[in-house]
């Protein structure tokens, strides 16, 4: 009792529910929910709608839990970087211990519930995703190597594979392609951000590619990763989840993404500083729209096939 009173008097104010919710990085969670949903819906096996909904919720909570663990571990650098200073821990709304408890508690709950709701393969991939993001990426790679987000990007790429596994209980070429799309998309997406937020990462001593290898090299790598991404993004058109519609949309989106990446790759820092990183900010935005649009196209393609439109088939 006495210790509870002391704790309450020591803290500036009690955390509100919204502060804990913010630990789960709701914006990142929306991408996870969407891609997992697409993986689930386009799978060739039907799932009871309520079980599907509950399973996607588990994936979202699991992703949120790994975000809370990330905020717990990175609280020291989040206090330094302008982009992250307003997060719940650096702003003093939630303690580090609370974030750890939320992260561990929700991780265990989400994996256990997904195993019971759907199957243990999907729960296993979710557990691995949380481990990969919290331990492999956050604790190990992020502060060690400029390849941090190249390898760490795998964590963000698993959700459509989990969605597919929820429905089918297996892994297939289609789910691996959806994984590869997000995996290859992550470096150009994050490096565009890292270029126009370079100062933040320098201050926090995080070896992002522009910090470690310079912006010229990063710009070249953005281009080559986007080139490599293109055939992977188009490939699903020739699988069971693809068709003519997806082929046309994925080619069009890839051209737009390639164009933005090309502009960024041909500039230097002087040109970027002159227009306040307009091209880099644009690439970052285009990359976000690109991924959402690509997965929406997979979803529409599946709906067209279900509705029986022959021209939607290759």
């Amino acid at each position: 009792m006495a210790s509870a009173l002391t704790t309450n008097m020591d803290t500036p104010r009690d955390a509100e529910f919204g502060d804990y919710y913010e630990l789960l990085k709701p914006r990142v969670m929306s991408l996870v929910i969407f891609t997992a949903f697409v993986g689930l819906i386009v799978a060739p096996v039907g799932v009871h709608p309520f079980v599907g909904l509950a399973s996607i919720l588990c994936v979202a909570v699991g992703a949120g839990a790994s975000a809370a663990l990330n905020m717990w571990w990175d609280a020291d650098i989040d206090r330094i970087m302008a982009r992250t200073q307003k997060r719940p821990i650096p702003s003093g709304r939630v303690t580090e211990g609370e974030a750890l408890s939320v992260g561990v508690g929700l991780s265990i709950m989400s994996v256990a519930m997904l195993g019971l709701f759907a199957n243990w393969l999907s729960a296993g991939i979710l557990a691995f995703t949380i481990f990969f993001y919290a331990v492999i990426y956050t604790m190990w790679l992020k502060r060690l190597t400029p390849q941090n987000i190249v390898i760490g990007g795998a964590a963000g790429a698993f959700p459509p594979m989990i969605g597919w596994a929820i429905a089918t209980g297996s892994i297939s070429v289609e789910s691996v392609l959806m994984f590869l799309i997000i995996f290859m998309w992550t470096p150009p997406h994050f490096w565009a951000l890292a270029i126009f937020r370079n100062e933040d990462y320098v201050n926090a001593d995080v070896p992002m590619m522009p910090v470690a290898a310079g912006t010229a090299s990063t710009r070249r790598q953005i281009w080559w990763y986007t080139v490599l991404l293109t055939p992977i993004a188009i490939a699903p058109a020739f699988t069971a989840i693809g068709g003519a519609f997806y082929l046309v949309v994925s080619v069009a989106l890839s051209i737009i993404f390639l164009k933005s990446a090309w502009v960024v790759s041909r500039r230097d820092d002087a040109a970027a500083a002159a227009d306040k990183h307009q091209a880099e900010v644009k690439l970052f935005k285009v990359s976000l729209i690109y991924l959402f649009a690509l997965f929406t196209a997979i979803l529409i393609q599946s709906a067209l096939k279900t509705a029986g439109y022959a021209w939607a088939l290759v």
Binding site: L5, T6, N8, M9, R13, D14, A15, E16, F17, H48, F50, V51, A54, L57, F117
Partner: protein, 59 residues
């Protein structure tokens, strides 16, 4: 004891904030119960909803 150190207004705000948090946690727990109930019903499926049919098929 600790509350005596604060003036009435501060105590009121503190309780209000905690009440809001407790209500939200309660809401999440309730939603969790509904979720478990819904999944249980969905997973039990035809075998329980149509016991007569299952019996008839086995004859």
């Amino acid at each position: 004891m600790g509350a005596g150190l604060m003036d009435g207004r501060e105590e009121h705000e503190l309780h209000k904030r905690r009440k809001g948090r407790n209500m939200a946690v309660g809401g999440v727990l309730l939603a969790f119960v509904v979720l478990l109930f819904g999944v249980t019903i969905a997973k039990m499926g035809d075998a329980v909803i149509k016991p007569d049919l299952a019996w008839g098929e086995s004859q």
